[in-house]
Amino acid sequence: MEATLLDFDLRDKEEYIINMGPQHPSTHGVLRFEVCLQGEQIKYLRPHCGYIHRGIEKMSEALTYPQLIHLTDRMDYLSAHINNEAVALCVENAMGVEVSDRVKYIRTILAELSRIASHQLWWCAFGMDLGALTTFFYGLRDREHILDIFEETTGSRLTQSFITPGGLMADVHPNFQKRIKEFITYFRKKLPEYDQLLTGNIIFRERTHGIGVMSKEVAIDYGVTGPSGRGSGFTCDIRKIAPYSAYPFVKFNEITLSEGDTYSRYVVRIKEMWESLNILEQLVDNIPQGPTMLELKAVKAPKGEYYQRVETARGELGVYIVSDGGPSPARIHYRTPNFSNLFVINKLAKGHKIADLVAISGSLDLVIPDIDR
């Protein structure tokens, strides 16, 4: 580990310190990088967070378990379904109940849809970071289709609050399956376009190859999970390690690449979109019948401590609930993927240029509210 203190001492000399963020077009939120430059080269950088800290963990201590989901929606708002699912699974485990297969299937479908939507938004924002402005609109155009499916079933586009401890808030809309099938055929046609526009582009390849190389050891050391970690060969897919919901019923590959540079992190996400489409295809026709909500008298976790790991679009989300047996948790902690993914950036960006910092932070796919919580 390189000491941050050592870096800190360097500041006494005359240095070129530049702040990127909190109001910067490429930090994707209110995050601040304090970057020390030598020419265009980064000597060191220090992330500063907390600009959007809302104290979700403190607030949650005053809420009942079903009420938690409207806060978890707002952590990583791009995988809101998966965050809700994590809380729901943790509470269900604590209570020792199991939801019906129908709920499991629908949860997994929603989770995979969120994963695709999140990767689409990441793709378009990543293109923007690198200066390809058109990608932004193509990504959003395709994402609309998923958001329409969400809106039809859950009533909201972004913070859906649909998966709740004990099941789902409501049954899915009758159009649900039809629309997903339409989307799969539509997106299978559009994904190659992404490759033509960005992946194959020589400028893009030159911008990302060999930039911000993260070895597998560093990824494990910092706990970098999700596509960012898998780009370094860290097999960290919770869907494989500790399958939950309907993942045991489907066949899919965990995508890992060994290079660990910005390009491989990019490719992992593109391939994950294909893989998610495969998962959707396996599930969408086989949704079994069953109740969508368990008949629970009261949602109360018995005294004890519970931990649940799920895979969001950005990596491993852990929900840690300490319960005193009451209707609300005594302490709830979210181990959020972006928190771990962010702080490796000093290691990755050191020695690269300021333009590469934008590419690296884009390839880590940070969602700032998830870091600050």
């Binding site: 809420l63 079903p66 009420q67 989901i69 409207h70 806060l71 929606d73 707002r74 058109t134 155009r141 609309e144 329409d148 809106e151 039809e152 079933t153 859950t154 009533g155 909201s156 913070t159 609050s161 808030m169 409501a170 809309h173 376009e193 033509q196 526009l197 960005l198 194959g200 582009n201 020589i202 400028i203 390849r205």
Partner: protein
Amino acid sequence: MALLKTIKAIGKYFYDIYDGVTSLARGMKVTGSYFLKPSSIVTQKYPENRATLKMFDNFKGELMLIHDENNKHSCNVCNTCARRCPNGSIEIIYKKVEGADGRTKKVLDKYVYHLETCSFCGLCVPSCDEFALKFDEEFEHAVFDRGKLTKVLNKPGSSSKATKE
């Protein structure tokens, strides 16, 4: 050996140029084809299409208390929705009225809904045993005065179905 290496390097140099140019051309083909296809435009002229704009069935717009044609709602002041709301967006103000059978009864006076704190989680609607609530399709919430976001949901002069007798 060195010669072979040089030839290889030169070959790679020209291959890179070829590769670069073709990859750029592929990208330009995508944008160019969309340029020539006006039918691919996905944006909409929003205020103009207001008449035809339809939200999805389950859209969570704004909470409303269902009134029937006789201006009656079915809230029986059980306060479940207010308790279930994580943000305290629902306030139920009631008055006590002496019923026909001599017992005092809670009657809804004002069903206050704070739109400014509502996070549209939708916990209130299924919590109601009387099915008195639903979300309507209103999505234009912008106002100039924050006070306007505090709404009274029961219509003036309305009464509860439960207090019919």
